[in-house]
């Protein structure tokens, strides 16, 4: 029973993709994607209960679900549901503007579902090689989604995205090869050589020289997909050009899925090399990402790029938490993943509707959004507040957790630097937010009122409500968070 639960999060979206392939995108199949996402979320919740007694294997040992995988699946489901609910409205608006053909709509339906399946595979794979395959598969599937609009900008973004991410992930593949090499020399059999659980168990026997090289490549490679500096150059382009629901998925959860791979690698690295090696790499990536985000947010003129740079900021913060690396820090990191996913999907989905209505993604085109469209402006503004880490949103709690764990671990200086950079970011984003929400409306504000479909409005409000709820209490997730953090620290198998 539990074994079939492990395969369901991959199979359900694939079936739905097949549904789109056969029936195309029409009024009846439009909600199929949302149904599949809801199914994924329910499956993830059941799996979280099912893995309470320990990891569950499936598919001849190729898939393995533990508390950490189940938690990541929940994050995927929670972000996928509003993104998929927004899909029909997005395509309807594009069709009204004459941008999408039926074939493009069918492809959109298929690719978004395959995207979900690839992410589910990445967090469920028992084998480091299979994790790699799944992460690379997400690049391939999303390449066409980034280029969905066929404009010059979208094509350019898709090209940069595929080239930079394929190279980055190529480096990770070399890392996988070297881990396998080290594992065979540590006496693991060929079947066990890439198995994450076996690697973690036998990590102390891995040759330190080769492992060091491998970990460096893996962190650099998966860090590229996670949008960490110095390999972040593709992110603002891809996230600002993709269709809004895809941006929500890419920013809200794909980055975190790549970061999940780094967490798994870190557990092995800590055992094999001691905690300092991965810690140095992660602190460098964290502070670099925060600095890049702060520098480019200050003078940002495009609100979708603003959201993209904010993702780099939050990935940097996750890297800092992972560098601290104790149970408190990792529980905070995992909570932050969920909170960021919720807030970012609200913002990108809102930004998509704003862009459709205003016809521009420039901050200066927005002025007075709150008065022009109270619901959309309100959710957008609250989403920005959540993103800046203000209470009562859960990002406040998780940022506080990372800071509190940082000082006793000897990384207090890095926390101070990081939070100084974040103050700069708060000031920059705050200024842009004031302009967009309250500023004077541009002179040519003659657009028809901005209307948001009920399904989208409902999911935006619901996502913000969940974000607040988690900021007040994490009680429903406490047990899962604790076991997932224990796995990520290497304290539990």
């Amino acid at each position: 029973m539990t074994a079939s639960l492990v395969t369901a999060p991959i199979v359900v979206p694939l079936l739905s993709a097949a549904g789109y392939a056969v029936f195309g995108w029409n009024r009846r199949t439009a909600w199929l994607g949302a149904v599949a996402a809801a199914g994924l979320l329910v499956g993830a919740a059941l799996l979280a209960a099912g893995t309470r007694g320990g990891a569950v294997l499936a598919a001849l040992g190729l898939l393995r679900a533990d508390a950490l995988s189940a938690y990541m699946l929940i994050v995927i489901g929670v972000v996928a549901l509003p993104a998929m609910l927004a899909g029909p409205a997005y395509l309807a608006a594009e069709a009204a503007a004459g941008h999408v053909s039926p074939a493009a709509a069918r492809r959109y339906g298929m690719l978004t579902q395959m995207f979900l399946a690839a992410m589910a595979l990445a967090v469920l794979a028992a084998n480091l090689g299979l994790v790699w395959v799944a992460v690379e598969a997400t690049t391939i599937v999303t390449a066409f989604l980034v280029g969905h609009r066929h404009t010059r900008e979208a094509t350019e973004a898709a090209w940069k995205y595929v080239v930079i991410c394929s190279v980055g992930i190529g480096l990770a593949l070399l890392g996988v090869v070297l881990v396998y090499f080290a594992a065979l020399h540590a006496g693991l059999s060929e079947a066990q050589g890439l198995d994450l659980a076996m690697l973690t168990e036998r990590a102390t026997g891995l040759d330190p020289g080769v492992t060091r090289l491998a970990v460096l490549l893996l962190v650099l490679g998966f860090g590229t997909k996670a949008g960490l500096a110095p390999m972040h150059a593709w992110l603002p382009d891809a996230h600002s050009q993709a269709p809004a629901p895809v941006s929500a998925l890419m920013s809200g959860v794909l980055l975190s899925v790549a970061f999940y791979a780094i967490l798994r690698v870190k557990v092995i690295a800590d055992q094999a090399l001691g905690p300092d090696f991965a810690r140095v790499l992660l602190v460098v990536a964290a502070l670099g990402s925060l600095a890049v985000a702060a520098a480019l947010l200050l003078a940002q003129r495009d609100y979708k790029r603003l959201l993209a740079y904010s993702s780099i900021e939050h990935m940097g913060l996750l890297a800092l938490g992972a560098a601290v690396g104790d149970a408190l820090a990792l529980a905070a990191v995992l909570l932050h993943v969920l909170g960021h996913g919720l807030a970012k999907s609200v913002l990108f989905l809102g930004a998509g509707h704003i862009q459709h209505a205003v016809g521009s993604s420039r901050i200066s085109a927005l002025g007075g959004l709150l008065a022009r469209a109270p619901l959309l402006g309100g959710t957008f503004g609250l989403g920005l507040l959540a993103l800046l880490g203000l209470p009562p949103f859960s990002l406040f709690a998780s940022e506080l957790g990372i800071a509190r764990a940082g000082f006793p671990s000897g990384l207090g200086w890095a926390v101070v630097v990081a939070f100084t950079l974040m103050l700069v970011i708060v000031a920059a984003v705050g200024r842009h937010a004031r302009l967009m929400l309250l500023g004077p409306a541009p002179a040519v504000a003659a657009e028809p009122g901005i209307r948001v479909p009920r399904a989208v409005a409902g999911s935006l409000v619901a996502a913000l409500a969940v974000c607040v709820l988690l900021g007040v209490t994490t009680a429903p997730l406490d047990g899962l968070l604790r076991s997932a953090a224990a796995i990520a620290t290497g304290a539990a198998p």
């Binding site: 690379e136 690049t139 066409f144 350019e156 070297l178 090499f181």
Partner: protein, 219 residues
């Protein structure tokens, strides 16, 4: 196969692998570059077959045929079609000229030897001693990727890196497990098809495949 012949054949294949990789830096004619890439695919296939013959491993030999077929047959075929569609046959102005590029390749080779020190120390042997060759091709591929301005040259750079990683996998461990190898090959094939489609779109919307034209997006 005796040990001596095995080592000779192994190093011959590695030599061909390295030579084709470095020659890519020298040529500016895109169809010649694709031909070199196909030859490198053959060298990689031959390398795996030599390993298979020495280890008397039929499965490995079949993998070698598959890898060779993909990298010497299918991928060059896709790229030739992209080239025929693109119409531009020469790398117009690489950022670094051919002579300097070849010198850089020599520096990269030394770097590759330095990087692979931990591997050679862990398991000295004829195959591991050839790993720096693969890593040199990896670095050369990266160099091609960052200095060439044609979409197709960048794809070749990416594929050189990928060939090099595959060669490293077979030299160090006789290949990663089959399921991973299949996934990797499929992903590479798909990545190339994606890039092929995008090249097409770049030509349609920018009127050429010169990547310097891609400057709509910046801060």
């Amino acid at each position: 196969m005796t040990e001596a012949i095995y080592v000779q054949l192994l190093y011959l294949a590695c030599g061909a692998f390295l030579l084709t990789g470095v020659l890519v830096l020298w040529r500016r004619d895109l169809s010649a570059i694709i031909r070199l890439f196909a030859l490198q695919g053959l060298a990689l296939g031959a390398l795996i077959l030599v390993l298979a013959a020495y280890q008397r491993d039929l499965a490995l030999a079949l993998v070698g045929v598959g890898v060779g077929g993909l990298r010497a047959g299918l991928l060059p075929y896709v790229m030739r079609r992209a080239l025929a569609a693109a119409g531009a046959h020469r790398e117009t102005r690489p950022l670094v000229n051919a002579a300097t590029s070849l010198l850089v390749a020599a520096v990269l080779a030394m770097l590759a030897y330095a990087i692979s020190r931990p591997l050679t120390q862990l398991a000295p042997g004829p195959t591991i001693r050839a790993v720096p060759v693969a890593l040199t091709v990896l670095l050369v591929g990266f160099f091609v990727l960052v200095t060439r301005r044609r979409a197709l040259s960048q794809v070749v750079g990416f594929l050189l890196m990928d060939n090099a990683i595959t060669a490293t996998a077979f030299l160090t461990t006789s290949g990663v497990p089959l399921v991973v190898e299949l996934g990797v090959s499929l992903d590479v094939l798909l990545a190339v098809l994606v890039l092929y489609t995008l090249t097409d779109r770049i030509r349609a919307s920018f009127g050429g495949t010169d990547l310097d034209e891609l400057r709509e997006l910046h801060d």
